[in-house]
């Protein structure tokens, strides 16, 4: 049995994808989903399909670029990678996340 699974907090999926890509470079959709799950030790639960609208949005915004390539098994797949804008965006989101989570932590910590 796996441990407790939680929904990804809203608005953070973008950040998770950006971070994953910045760590691991070019990946296709399944790899991204898989590595997010593995990195979170399967705690963060997401309907895998929800990844795709996110990816599309980030393509439009120019944070990602997608290039078609072949997988190890010679299957056609779209490989996503970060653009310069994407890196900046990741930095912004991380900073914001830090700020917010520290604030939350301060509220929750007993003084």
């Amino acid at each position: 049995m796996r441990g407790q699974r939680d929904e990804i907090p809203p608005g953070t999926l973008d950040m998770l994808i950006l971070k994953t890509l910045s760590r691991l470079g070019e990946m296709h959709g399944f790899e991204i989903a898989d590595s997010i799950q593995q990195a979170s030790v399967d705690v963060l639960q997401v309907e895998e399909g929800s990844l795709y609208p996110c990816l599309q949005r980030m393509l439009i915004k120019g944070w990602l670029k997608g290039e078609w390539g072949k997988t190890g098994e010679n299957r056609r797949a779209r490989y996503y990678s970060l653009t310069v804008d994407g890196r900046k965006q990741l930095a912004r989101e991380m900073e914001r996340y830090e700020r917010v989570s520290q604030a939350i932590a301060r509220v929750l910590q007993p003084v």
Partner: protein, 898 residues
């Protein structure tokens, strides 16, 4: 997001839009790969193959939904849906071509007719005249009121400026100075159309011009493009002749010569120096109602005699009101002047000056007719809206089943509405395109058919504002009426609607709606039909009017002898006497005559006193005619003798009068032996004969007293002999060349113009009424056609909705005849209700036709009965097919469907 990023995002979005199919396919492929990879992973972790695929799918979620979400992201959704709806709509419309064709045709008819008619009304009546501050321009004329006359008379039906034939006359030149000094006008100028022979160019031509007072152009507020207008001193009989030409004359006849102001042209054998060229497109008020262009302007140069003669009504007058002076105030000032003149001069005793805004005066002959047309086209638009609404309601109700199926499958209510709206938009768009085409065609036809003399008819252009407005109204109506049932349908619980399997004929309220629309349609059509019927009755009455002479086999032509070559009345008489002899000798000629004017071609009137008694006064029509006149025109001599070749200048002045003259002057007594005088000192003219009454100005004219002078007694009349008429055995047109040759053998430079058979002339004189009648008849037919469509569609639909009910009735023993009757009764109720409302509407609305009708009352029962009979017949015929279909319902089939 910075601007650059936003911009790039837009480009990416647009690029994605154009490859949206590829994009969607790519996304599908990615997702399929994802699920596959996940399944393989799960399989490797120990799940069964099928179970792994199932788990992978579950973990992925609803792929179709995510696909949709992704498309949303790209921003295609709106477009996609719109295009999908358009496609769906087009398919749905194509599936019911009958409905689509009728809806589009209905819209096109309504829009086309309305736009065409309004474009014409706008150009003819509403658009400001092309002069400076045109609202201050008025037209001035004189009215001749005999004290014993009732004040109600109709100025329509006879052309303005034909003295004597109507109460309205042209203005006496001698009175101009008094009117000028009334204080009401900033400027006042006389003008008269003056055709002249233009020679010393490549080919001699008869060209229409206008003689105008020197200040004519400044009253209009027009300055020439080149040169100048006339100087006051040039407007005198002693001054050297000057001419101002139009831009078109300069370009066409003078080749746009830059030195135009140094040139002269020869008019009626006299050289005229060109002093100015008018701006392109300038049209004199007289030209606005005529098809012949006015090409030049010469000074009026009134003679001393004319300036002294108060009784000679020779010119048209236009004036510019002083700023701040209204028409009423100006009229009051003018009336004071008129009464002073009446007290002062005998010739002015019954004369009164009248003004009206120039624009109103120009359109006075066509005003009522255009307003009636406008009203009729308005009714057509109403019927169009009703019909389109009706069709859409029927259609939307018929699709309740489809609507509920789609809603049961998860379609949103708004989406369903939007789908219906899209269809309406498609129909509206197609209707607009067809409407534009039809409107243009119709406009061209109307302009071509419009009676000559309709002001500014040549400047008609498609009125896009009106088109847009009527298109918007029709579309909106369609939308609203189409949406109402859609809205109701979308509120229906899908389960219930599905249970009844679309067999219900819709809610009670919808049935009522459709019935109301049909009733409205019948009512509107009846109004139009009654209007058309009244005009038709009026027209046939008019055609039946006896003119008092026989116009068949008579041809008339104009031989205008220029004053320079034929300076005296005697010279002109000699020309015509020669011509008379030559023409009479032609084979096929039965009789011929010359006169100052033939009937329906204008004329002259003059005041007289009978037997030297100043109390026995009248203003009869006058003409100077040759002895053959009565025979040529077929006017029977009733008493006494006709004019003969022996009546000449040295002999006793004689005249022939008509019966009306005797009735009016002598209470029906025998006029022979009585004498008349045009002035107290003028020669006594003895009456020697009485001829039949004629309507000289045409069929709508009343019978006036007429005096026929002998053309050979040239000292008795001030007008010029100018018209020739020939009665022939065969087709008179075949003799035109032979007659013209006789003219040219006497004088090779003499143009023969205005050649028309008498029948043609009469035909032209009723052309306006024919135009009105024809148009209203066409409009009424369109309305009836639309009503038929409306009635048919409602009944056909209702029968198809009631198939099972009718089947049960038949199964229970109802005879097909009683079913037939049932449906017809339903139709009959609607038709009868529509008729009742329409009748009330017609009684109220046709009152506006009063002025257009000739000797027919607006309550003429025959027109009403005819309209009712016709509409009932066609409406019942429209009901016949659905009724028969209802009667032939096969109960077994109908019940099995249940």
């Amino acid at each position: 997001m910075g601007i650059r990023a936003w911009f790039l995002a837009c480009i990416r979005r647009a690029a994605a839009f154009f490859e949206r199919d590829e994009q969607a396919a790519a996304l599908r492929e990615e997702m399929r790969l994802h699920v596959e990879l996940r399944a393989r992973r799960l399989h490797r972790q120990g799940l069964g193959a099928d179970e792994a695929v199932y788990a992978a799918r579950r973990q992925f979620g609803n792929a179709a939904w995510y696909q949709g979400e992704s498309s949303e992201v790209w921003g295609w959704a709106m477009w996609e849906r719109f295009i999908q709806d358009l496609r769906h709509g087009a398919r749905a419309l194509a599936k019911s071509p009958g409905f689509s064709a009728i809806a589009v045709a209905t819209l096109a008819l309504g829009l086309g007719i309305n736009t065409a008619v309004f474009s014409i009304v706008n150009a003819v009546m509403l658009r400001a005249l092309p002069y400076q501050q045109p609202e201050r321009l008025v037209s001035l004329w004189e009215e001749n009121s005999r004290p014993d006359d009732t004040p109600t008379f109709n100025t329509k039906g006879s052309p303005v400026g034909t003295a004597g034939t109507s109460q309205r006359t042209t203005v006496s030149v001698a009175n101009l100075a008094d009117y000028r000094n009334s204080g009401a006008f900033e400027g006042l100028a006389a003008f008269a159309v003056t055709p002249m022979n233009l020679t010393a160019m490549e080919t001699p031509a008869r060209v229409t011009g206008e003689s105008v007072e020197w200040n004519f152009f400044s009253v209009l507020g027009i300055s020439p493009q080149r040169g100048r207008t006339f100087l006051a001193e040039e407007d005198s009989p002693d001054a050297d002749p000057r001419v101002i030409v139009t831009h078109d004359f300069w370009q066409r006849r003078l080749g746009g010569d830059a030195g135009v102001l140094e040139r002269s042209i020869v008019l009626d054998a006299k050289p005229y120096r060109i002093v100015g060229v008018l701006p392109a497109g300038f049209q004199s008020p007289a030209q606005l109602g005529s098809k012949d262009p006015i090409e030049f302007y010469v000074p009026s140069a009134f003679s001393k005699d004319l300036l002294a003669s108060r009784g000679d009504h020779e010119v048209n007058v236009l004036a510019r009101l002083r700023p701040g002076v209204g028409v009423k105030k100006a009229q009051a000032a003018l009336s004071t002047v008129s009464s002073n003149l009446a007290a002062q001069y005998r010739a002015n005793r019954d004369t009164r000056a009248v003004i009206a805004p120039l624009r109103d005066d120009l359109v006075q002959n066509v005003r009522e007719s255009l307003l009636a047309l406008l009203g009729a086209s308005g009714l057509i638009v109403l019927i169009t809206c009703v019909n389109v609404a009706n069709l859409l309601v029927v259609r939307a109700v018929g699709r309740r089943h489809e609507t509920s199926v789609r809603m049961a499958l998860g379609a949103g209510r708004l989406r369903m509405m939007w789908q219906l709206v899209t269809e309406s938009i498609l129909i509206a768009a197609a209707g607009c395109v067809a409407g534009i085409a039809l409107g243009r065609m119709l406009m061209a036809v109307l302009v071509a058919m419009a009676p000559a003399g309709t002001p500014r008819i040549s400047s008609v252009t498609m009125d896009w504002q009106v088109f847009g407005l009527s298109a918007a109204i029709a579309t909106l109506t369609g939308l609203i009426f189409g949406m109402a049932p859609a809205w109701q349908a979308s509120q229906v619980k899908p389960v219930e609607a599905l249970k009844s399997a679309g067999r219900g004929s819709g809610a009670k309220s919808q049935v009522r709606w459709r019935s109301a629309l049909t009733v409205a349609e019948v009512a509107l059509s009846l109004v139009l039909l009654v209007g058309a019927g009244l005009l038709l009755r009026s027209f046939t009455t008019l055609m039946g009017v006896d003119l008092g002479f026989q116009p068949d086999h008579v041809i008339a032509m104009n031989v205008n002898l220029p004053a320079l070559r034929y300076p005296t009345p005697l010279a002109r008489l000699q020309f015509f006497q020669q011509l008379d002899e030559r023409v009479r000798a032609l084979p096929g000629v039965q009789a011929d005559a010359y006169a100052n004017r033939m009937p329906l071609r204008g004329g002259w009137g003059s005041g007289i006193a009978l037997d030297g008694n100043p109390d026995l006064r009248a203003t009869p029509d006058f003409q100077a005619v040759s002895p053959g006149y009565f025979e040529t025109l077929g006017i029977p001599l009733l008493r006494g003798r006709s004019l003969t070749a022996q009546d000449g200048n040295g002999q006793m002045p004689v005249a022939v009068v008509n019966q009306e003259f005797a009735r009016e002057m002598l209470h029906g007594g025998d006029p022979i032996g009585h004498f008349m005088q045009r002035a107290p000192t003028a020669p006594r003219i003895t009456i020697v004969g009485v001829v039949n009454d004629i309507r000289r100005a045409g069929k709508t004219d009343k019978i006036n007293p007429e005096v026929y002078l002998c053309a050979a007694q040239t000292t008795l009349y001030p007008v010029s002999l100018a018209d020739l008429a020939v009665r022939t055995a065969g087709d008179p047109r075949q003799l035109v060349n032979a007659i013209s040759r006789q003219v040219w053998q006497i004088d090779k430079d003499q143009p023969v113009t205005n050649v028309r058979t008498m029948d043609e002339i009469i035909d032209l004189s009723v052309s306006q009424r024919r135009f009105q009648t024809l148009l209203l008849a066409v409009f009424a037919s369109v309305a009836v056609g639309l009503a038929i469509v409306g009635i048919y569609s409602v009944l056909a639909f209702s029968v198809s909705q009631r198939t099972s009910e009718l089947g049960i009735r038949i199964a229970l023993g109802a005879a097909p005849r009683s079913i037939f009757g049932l449906v017809l009764r339903q139709a009959g109720t609607l038709i009868a209700a529509g008729m009742a409302i329409g009748l009330a509407g017609a009684l109220a609305l046709t009152r506006v036709l009063q002025d257009l009708l000739f000797q027919v009352k607006t309550t003429d029962w025959q027109a009403y009965a005819g309209a009712i009979a016709l509409l009932s017949a066609v409406a019942l015929a429209a009901a016949f097919i659905p009724a028969r279909r209802g009667a032939r319902v096969n109960p077994i089939v109908a019940l099995r469907d249940e």
